[in-house]
């Protein structure tokens, strides 16, 4: 019994359990719906998933280092309205605005980590404050949809190579780089160490401050990228862009088997979590569950998945 439960909980922490659920749900949806496995829906599903996966990767890195970033959704929103508003359909302006957005993302990450590392504010509070500030900035800039995204950018997002959207291919390439980085970089190893036990890391010769700073800056930059993906998909930046994405991404990281306390987790699991969340919404739509009862199913599936795989022994969230 213990052997079984340990093995099951290993599946969870290895990030494999969530993919089993993804596969199960995909098969179920294929049987229950004529429209799920179609040339129209699959590319659409991939496009839907892109922003969430990007933001999840960023949050995964912050969470591994024992941090959390609640400001990511606001960064997505700010990026969306800025590149759409400033760019207003012009490629040159769009690129300049994108560069500005990355500069802002960098600044946000640096301020977050300044609060956390120097002023010892818990990341939860610091980034919650940052979230409010950025929301305020967005609403000061615009309260409705503004400008547009240049056609070539939107095309890049939607054009397909076979059944796969170009943007999805780009995402996969980035993910491969991130995998490589997580496995072989010194910084990544130290992220796990600092998140696992800051005192042990410090005594082992790790300088914790820069490690935490990197984790929050990287997280913010991924949030900017997610914002670009989101606005390209929508075509126009509106202040409601990205609403609630931070909670979805945190959920994705957790059902992917990472510890919310830091120091443990696999990227493949977090990505699986993001895919699962997008898949649940898409499947419920395709199966024809009413919009109003979708929340019930979504919540039910998530809670069941975690209850099934997190056993008392060996796992902590």
């Amino acid at each position: 019994m213990n052997v079984v439960s340990t093995r099951v909980s290993n599946l969870f922490t290895n990030g494999q359990a969530v993919w089993i659920i993804v596969a199960g749900l995909a098969v179920t949806s294929t049987f229950l719906s004529d429209t799920f496995l179609t040339e129209r829906n699959i590319p659409n599903l991939m496009q839907q998933t892109i922003p969430l996966i990007i933001i999840t990767v960023g949050l995964f890195i912050a969470i591994i280092a024992g941090q959390i970033d609640l400001s990511v959704a606001a960064v997505v929103k700010l990026t969306a309205v800025l590149v759409s508003g400033i760019g207003d359909g012009d490629m040159g302006k769009f690129l300049a605005a994108a560069a500005l957005a990355y500069a802002i993302g960098l600044t946000v990450g640096l301020i977050n980590s300044l609060l956390v590392v120097v002023f010892k504010v818990p990341a939860f509070i610091a980034t919650l404050g940052m979230f409010s500030v950025l929301e305020g900035l967005v609403l000061a800039y615009t309260v409705k949809g503004v400008g547009s995204v240049p056609i070539p950018v939107v095309d890049f997002f939607y054009n397909q190579v076979g059944p796969v959207p170009q943007a999805f291919i780009a995402l996969v390439l980035v993910l491969v780089l991130v995998f490589f980085w997580l496995k072989y970089s010194r910084l990544a190893l130290r992220l796990y160490a600092v998140g696992g036990d800051p005192e042990v890391a410090r005594r082992s010769g790790v300088n914790n401050g820069p490690v935490i700073t990197w984790s929050l800056v990287i997280c913010s930059l991924f949030a900017v990228t997610a914002g670009l993906a989101q606005v390209s998909r929508a075509g126009v930046g509106v202040p409601s862009t990205g609403e609630g994405l931070e909670l979805l991404a945190i959920t994705a990281v957790i059902i992917g088997g990472a510890s919310l306390m830091g120091g443990r987790g696999k990227l493949i699991g977090a990505i699986g979590g993001a895919v699962l969340l997008a898949l649940i919404d898409n499947s419920l739509n395709m199966i024809g569950v009413s919009q109003y009862s979708q929340g019930l199913f979504r919540g039910g599936i998530i809670v069941l998945a975690i209850a099934l795989f997190v056993t008392k022994r060996g796992s902590r969230l």
């Binding site: 190893l189 160490a193 443990r264």
Partner: protein
Amino acid sequence: MTNYLLHSNSANDRVDAEEGGHPPLLRMRGINKSFVGIAALIDVNFDLYGGQVHALLGQNGAGKSTLISIMSGALQPDSGVIELDGHVVAFASPSDALKNGVVAVYQELSLLPDMTVAENLFVGIEPGWGPFTNRAEMRNKAREILDILGAVGIDPGVVVGSLSIANQQLVEISKSLTRRARIVILDEPSAVLGNQELGLLYAMVRKLTASGIAVVYITHRLDEVEEIADVVTVMRDGLKVLGESQSAVSQAMMISAMVGRELLLDAPPKWQVGVSQAMEGPSLVLIGVELPGMDGDTMDFEVKSGEILGIAGLTGSGRSRILRVLAGLEPPLQGKVMLDNQEVKLRSPRSAISQGIVLVPEDRKKLGLIMNQSVSNNTVLSILRRLSRWSFVSRSGSRRHTQLMVDKMRIKLASLTQEVRYLSGGNQQKVVVARCLGTNPKLLLLDEPLRGVDIGAKSEIIDIIGQVAEQGTAVIVVSSEIEDVLALTDRVIVVRDGRVVKELTGPNATESKILECSSVRES
């Protein structure tokens, strides 16, 4: 500054004279350290030579931990000189000491449980190029170090959290090698090990010394000293009372050095409760209780109602474990527990309390009290049901009960609603005892009841425990301070490796006798 030569005592001098030849790796001279006016170290000299195992002995509070904390940079001395290789050094922090090659391996291991053995060995000093690590090199180097130290059974690719405590300790010692350690301090490494693992540990220590590393080895087990040590230092009451090469000391000498009272400086006064009268019939009887992780040894003993039984033994001997079993915190592997001639099943603390067994835990701040809640809330926590009607807790009832307990135990506080974290250690301890007594126990278990308690409160707590016993409650006291056990109890049993090895009563129960029984493993 104090001139150490004028103040040094005879034990300090002896080592000076003995090792006249080559210079020591680490030389500590005239180290003083006190905490809020209480001297923890008085003018201590300590020399450490490369390639030697230096055993550090002494009872709790003798100053061993303070000494190694200073050695490893966790504390700074009030005065005194530390020289490393003949150069004066001052370690500002543990990482500072680490840079100078001083590594301390504590009982609470400092490893990252979710990371692999190889990652743990090299975190912070990862081999590689630029921003990248070389995983293969890391694994190979880890393998090499583990092999050198004889830990051939440990796979460097495995996650540390999945290893046994013993193996984790071996990893921790291996880690010191990757940090270019020249001095390795081992704080009671044998406390968590079984007999087989002990052999591995000794082999590892010998490998360390063979490569020229100096090892400071803290232990309570005298047989270990003969097995592994080259030099022995015994501390008592902040003084170094013995410093000799191992071959020149006997176990008897070490025991009398640890216990001896010829240097009564600030020795606390001794109390003795009037020996209470054991009442009719046994209250609690243990029959063949096997504690988890004790290799099949079992424990049998009994406590009569109205009696105070002391349990003495070293860390890891099972002395606290048995209390946890009786309090329903962990199940015994086998055996029966009888209370008033009836077998009791102890499934949880709640079931233990309802059957009349309650524990005053060792760590009151974590396990005994809810620190940021009021004295009143803490006092009534175990008897909420009794104080409630229709599932609402009676405020006047709990106030009355708390006031009664506060008066009875003379708890000093500003008001009943004061948060317990603002109370002194002694008064906090009284609140824990008050909470436990509220359940009207048949058997009261006390784990380290006098730890971190000031002298005044100490005697009051001793009085209270005496009164509790007089009213017919059976009491079991566990303490690492043999003196406390003697002050509190009528009868002492000594435990080792999960079984009772000796029972001592009256004049036979002396500090040195208890120390001898608990620290010498018979062959």
